[in-house]
């Protein structure tokens, strides 16, 4: 397993270098050049202009420029953003990336979980009326033209019903006299969500070995309640009780985009789970499980769904990447100030350093997602684990 991980890691690094080079070449192929956009930018003082030319070797041949670019990449030096002048691309990304990651990790987790849940119930209830209608609904949300759908959601829930804000990250009026910056609050939110998910995960891991099913369920329930109480205590004491108001504002703005993207993203997982699970249900070991006198729920979840999970995980990883790409659309429509908007801005206004830095980070994210997928796949399927070990 360790050898496999290391091997995959090195493969990832090679792919990453290729990615860097190809993306550089693509930027290089854009008509017009960096000079012209530099010259036209009145914000840049002459020293910066000179420094940019030197660090990126803009007066040197292509091959040297690529070398310089890779070296600078590992130094974390992307020069200056043209449009946000005194700020560097790294600073901008450090501000924007967490917002995108937060939004889309939540979407991904919910989309995968609900998609898998709905898929397995659909397969289990094959032939029933509810199955037909939910399948039709899933096909609709899987195939719908996403920008239109997002706008419709915004129009209906934001404008017509007025339940949710019309995009944006926060309501500026509320923050005028705020002692905290929005980033501070947002990092607290991220930290809180991460810690909570880790605890949830730990509860499941530790209760796995309880033999009796009844007490396993009970102890999980108790764990959830404790987690809930602890987080309630956290938000009602000390500094967090002051931050609560602002955190709630951000969270409120997250609901509609999360809901919309989840609706679109879950359908693919649900439909694929339904298909694979229907295949699995024909297998002999399902019959064995029934003969053993196991409960229907246990056969469905432990035997059928567990095996059906494998192809679903694979396809889901690819979905993650399209969702990251899709962040451009989502963030523009919901005016969510994340990576997607940053990229769009950088590209449309020819801010090449910023665009290159953003693309590189998205590339890294995609590679990491693939890496995690490979590892978790080996973890989920013992047959692959063995192949991997030999």
């Amino acid at each position: 397993m360790l050898v496999y991980t290391i091997k995959r890691f090195f493969e990832m690094i090679i792919v990453f270098f290729l990615f860097l080079i190809i993306s550089y070449l693509l930027f290089n192929a854009i008509p017009g050049n960096a000079f012209s956009s530099l010259l036209l930018n009145p914000l840049l003082p002459p020293e910066t202009y000179q420094r940019t030319i030197e660090t990126f070797g803009l007066d040197k041949p292509l091959f040297e420029r690529i070398q310089l670019y890779i070296i600078n990449f590992f130094k974390g030096d992307f020069g200056y953003s043209y449009i946000y002048y005194p700020r560097t691309p790294i600073e901008l990304i450090a501000e924007r990336l967490p917002r995108t990651l937060m939004l889309f990790s939540i979407v991904n987790v919910i989309a995968f979980y609900t998609g898998f849940l709905v898929g397995k119930i659909l397969a289990w209830r094959r032939g029933s009326k509810s199955e037909t209608w939910i399948t039709i609904g899933s096909v609709f949300s899987y195939t719908v033209f996403y920008p239109w759908f997002a706008l419709m959601m915004l129009w209906f829930f934001g404008y017509k019903m007025g339940w949710f804000p019309l995009g944006k990250f926060l309501v500026p009026e509320k923050w005028y006299d705020s002692p905290y910056s929005s980033d501070e609050i947002f990092y607290t939110l991220i930290l809180f969500t991460t810690v909570t998910s880790v605890f949830l995960f730990l509860i499941f891991i530790f209760t796995r070995n309880i033999e009796s099913l009844q007490s396993r369920r009970n102890s999980r329930f108790v764990g959830l309640i404790i987690l809930f109480i602890i987080s309630a205590i956290y938000w009602s004491n000390g500094e967090a009780s002051l931050q609560r108001f602002y955190a709630a504002d951000i969270a409120y703005h997250m609901i509609l985009p999360t809901f919309t993207v989840t609706l679109v993203a879950f359908a693919g997982t649900a439909l694929l789970t339904r298909t694979t699970m229907m295949e699995v249900l024909k297998d002999d070991y399902i019959l064995t499980a029934r003969a053993k006198g196991l409960s229907q729920k246990r056969i469905r979840d432990r035997h059928a769904a567990r095996t059906a999970l494998l192809p679903v995980v694979t396809s889901f990883i690819f979905t993650i990447i399209t969702i990251i790409d899709g962040s451009v659309l989502t963030e523009s429509i919901f005016s969510w100030p994340g990576m997607g908007q940053l990229i769009l801005e950088a590209v449309t206004r020819e801010d090449i350093p910023l665009a290159m830095a953003s693309f590189s980070f998205i590339g890294i994210l995609a590679l990491i997602a693939h890496f995690i997928a490979d590892i978790s796949y080996a973890f989920l399927d013992p047959r692959i684990r063995v192949k991997v070990e030999n």
């Binding site: 009796s212 019959l287 029934r290 053993k292 409960s295 095996t307």
Partner: protein, 323 residues
């Protein structure tokens, strides 16, 4: 006299398919006493497995039991709710399936798959108790204890089949159904598995229903056999009697088609024709079109029913002209 453990009476079942009703089991009755081994023999598609599945009430969804009763230890199984059936399955009656290769879930460890059944039927057991029991069962069927921690794909076919037997024994059933447990195995392993089953059966005093198309295996394994043809039992009796003096032409044909190692060399006989399609309703003797002894006075239009011709030896009424 040992008491009757499993009593199947007038069991009829058909599959509802697009082409029509497939009459897979027709008016089947038999008893299995406790500690006895009972064989069910017949060619492929004669309804043996359908009978086995019906005993556990695990028949596919499109099957309909039209009449009959299955009493296990005095308890009626036909029409029992799914929840009540769950308590009976594995606890009183367990099964060793035809394809042991696919009987294991590929992503769960063997030990966990056995423990899962034990958890269901003995919720009060601690994990260690269950593990001890599994180890004991593994020793009984000749497997190493470390197998519990293995995944199914790490085991050979024979090992999987032994583990399936251990699985079948895990909840102390009163009766085990072995549905062609050795079909996919080579002859050497087949012999070992058969011995294992017999050993365990004697050791624990279990009843066994052994289902096979291989009459030689049945002869070795069972005290009593029933020969099935086209969904009905055509002859039933103590194994010894049936083998030494078969009364039904089909039983004779089955015996004649098996080579014997001892004795004179003779040409193996085979039957002409094919088993009838079970979709068409068959009036009277279903074997009549293929019967080699048809010219002898029998009544092919008469309905199949069994008559006792010797103590405990039953034969289809249609062949009575021959006796």
């Amino acid at each position: 006299m040992s008491k009757i453990l499993l009593e199947v009476k007038n069991l009829s079942m058909h599959y509802d398919t697009l082409e029509g009703n497939v009459e897979a089991v027709k008016n089947v009755s038999f008893n299995v006493n406790s500690g006895e081994s009972f064989g069910l023999v017949g060619e492929s598609g004669c309804g043996k497995t359908s009978v086995a599945m019906t005993l556990l009430q695990l028949q596919p969804e499109n099957s309909i039991i039209t009449e009959g009763s299955i009493k296990l230890d005095g308890k009626e199984l036909v029409g029992l709710s799914e929840n009540d059936l769950r308590k009976v399955r594995w606890d009183s009656i367990s099964i060793v399936f035809q394809g042991a290769m696919n009987a294991w879930n590929p992503v769960i460890k063997i030990g966990e798959q056995i423990r899962e059944a034990m958890r269901e039927h003995y919720p009060q057991n601690s994990k260690q108790e269950n593990i001890n029991k599994i180890n004991e069962l593994f020793r009984m069927v000749g497997l190493d204890e470390s197998i519990s921690e293995r995944f199914p794909h790490e085991l050979s076919g024979g090992m999987k089949q032994r583990a399936v037997i251990a699985l079948a024994l895990s909840c102390d059933p009163k009766i085990i159904i072995a549905d062609e447990p050795t079909t996919a195995l080579d002859v050497v392993i087949q012999d070992q598995i058969l011995n294992e089953i017999k050993k365990v059966q004697n050791l624990l005093g279990l009843s066994l229903i052994y289902i096979s198309h291989d009459i030689a295996v049945i002869a070795e394994m069972t005290d009593k056999i029933a020969v099935m043809y086209a969904g009905s039992i055509v002859e039933m009796g103590p194994t010894k009697n049936v083998f030494t003096s078969p009364k039904h032409s089909y039983t004779r044909a089955l015996l004649d088609s098996t080579p014997s190692i001892k004795g004179e060399k003779k040409k193996l006989r085979s039957l002409d024709g094919e088993p009838p399609s079970l979709i068409d309703k068959i009036d009277g003797c279903s074997f009549a079109p293929r019967c080699p002894d048809r010219e002898i006075s029998c009544n092919p239009t008469e309905h199949m029913s069994l008559i006792e011709i010797e103590p405990d030896h039953y034969v289809d009424v249609c062949s009575q002209g021959k006796i």
